[in-house]
Each structure stands twice: as structure tokens, then as C-alpha cells.
Symmetry: C2
Subunit: 140 residues, 2 copies
Amino acid sequence: MLSSREEIVETIRKSGHRATSQRIVVYEALWKAGSHPNVSEIHKYASKSDPTISLATVYKNLQLFSEIGLVREMGFRDGSMRYDPDVDFHINLVCNKCGRIEDFDCISLEEIAPNLIQKVGFEVQSHNFEVRGICSRCRS
Amino acid sequence: MLSSREEIVETIRKSGHRATSQRIVVYEALWKAGSHPNVSEIHKYASKSDPTISLATVYKNLQLFSEIGLVREMGFRDGSMRYDPDVDFHINLVCNKCGRIEDFDCISLEEIAPNLIQKVGFEVQSHNFEVRGICSRCRS
DNA sequence: CTGCTTGCAAAACTTTTGCAGACGG
DNA sequence: CCGTCTGCAAAAGTTTTGCAAGCAG
């Protein structure tokens, strides 16, 4: 996570884009909105800092963040997109009953599929590892 | 893959559902529609066998197939759902440039995350492991 | 100043739903 | 025959787009 406002501004600028107040608000809302939020949850939190921010702006900026690697897009069952600000490799345990998503740390992608580039010539940019089932809370 | 029509009929019946002609057409279209098709591609192929089949029926049956384990749903970046008839554990290499999806066999989920149930009490039902990047064809 | 960004509203899509009629078992 | 399933059309969502006005650099 980029913690200070200066760090966020710098990262956005380095990617060749403008550090507008809305961009910073959306980035901060990503973390405040809880675990793996969808767009409307992010918009809800962004609205607390900037009540006039539009949903379209949230969409446009999340798309930008995804392109510059600040967030990971997760296509979701209910037809909406969810966003994971943790871009490091991990498993998302998605509960089919309550919808809650837990993170689970596992061995690295390099250990799982050694030499992906050498073997099939694929250059890795991002990943999304979902395991669906029933979480402990719903099973008991 | 369930190869003969009788095998498909039997599998659907065993799950407690009726083996209608539309169901069989949708299942066969899943394989004919190429690798990881979306709903409209599946509908297009299903229409070749049954020109009057409706999109709603394709949706309803894909949802059923997913519930009874005949297909794996993949939430996708473009907002549409894609379907993978290969339900065994593997990595989907998705090219960000051309959109093509290759399968990559890797070690088992049990080897990646041993004792998922024992450790966090999570009961695995399905999985979706996507790695995005640039494929060999687009890199050269 | 320049042109990237925003906000608004409409458009474009994907997916779901309700219901009368069809048909599988 | 009964109850599930289909087709249609409309509804419900989500995401994208065009454009005038507003700001960042």
C-alpha cells in the first residue's frame, strides 16, 4: 500500500498521468472500502471524501489503476467487478454462501509454474487465483 | 469431455434434471465454440444445431451446468462470463493483447496449498487460476 | 495555455426474471 | 399428466461513451 499522499501522487505522475484530487480520493477509498470491494462500494467511500465525485470517474480511474498496476481486477460471479489493492501473489478464498473473500498466502507463482516464460514464452503481468467453496464460518 | 450423447443425457439425469434437446445442444456447443467461449459465442454455435434456441435458455443451462460441475465459470475483464469445459485444475494464461487463452498444466492445488481445509477450514468446490500477460505469439 | 480529466446523462451491454405454453419422464 | 423447462420480452444491473466545462502541469 502506498501510505502517504505524496507517494500516491508520485506514483501516478511517474506513470505519465495527472494526479487529480479525484484520483487520490479513489485510491484511498480502495483501502477504506474494506476487503475486495466492488465499484459501488468504492464510490460510496470516495463520496465521503468528495461528495460530488461521479461513478464514471471512479470507473475510469480504477481502470487506469489496473493498467499501471496499483490494483488487481477480479471479474466476479454477480456480474460486477471487484478490486483487490493487494497486488502480491496470493489465493482468494471466495465463499459461495456468504460471498466473503479471505486471502490465503501460498508458495510463489514461480514455484507453482517454474519458467513460465521459458516454457511457453508467456510474459506475466498480473494474476488472479480464486478458489471457491464454503468458508469455515458458514460450515460450522 | 462427455463424448456420446447418451453419456451427456445420463449425466444430466443423474443430477436430477431433465435431458432436454436444448440442454444437449448447449453442452455440445460449449465444446464446438472453441476455447473458453463467452455466452454469445456459445449461443451462436447452439443456434447452428437449433436455430430457435433462445439466449435466456443458454444462460439458464450454463448456470445449471456450473452447479452440477460440467463447466467452470470464469468472470472476465470485458464484463462477460466465459466458460471453461475443462474442470480440472490448471492455469489459464490470458493474453492482454489478443485475448487468447491458453491452458497450462501445473502442480495440483493440494501441492500449492496443502491442507486448505485443515488450516483455515475452507471446503474447496471450484477454482479459477488466471495469469495475465503477453503471449508468445504477441511478443514475437 | 494545452489538453487531460471530470461530471452528467444517455447508450450499450450482459444477465435475470415472470409468465404462458411446450414437452420430458 | 405433472412439473420442469423453454422462449419471449421486459427489467435490472453494470460499464462505457460523448461532450462541454474545469483544472493540472
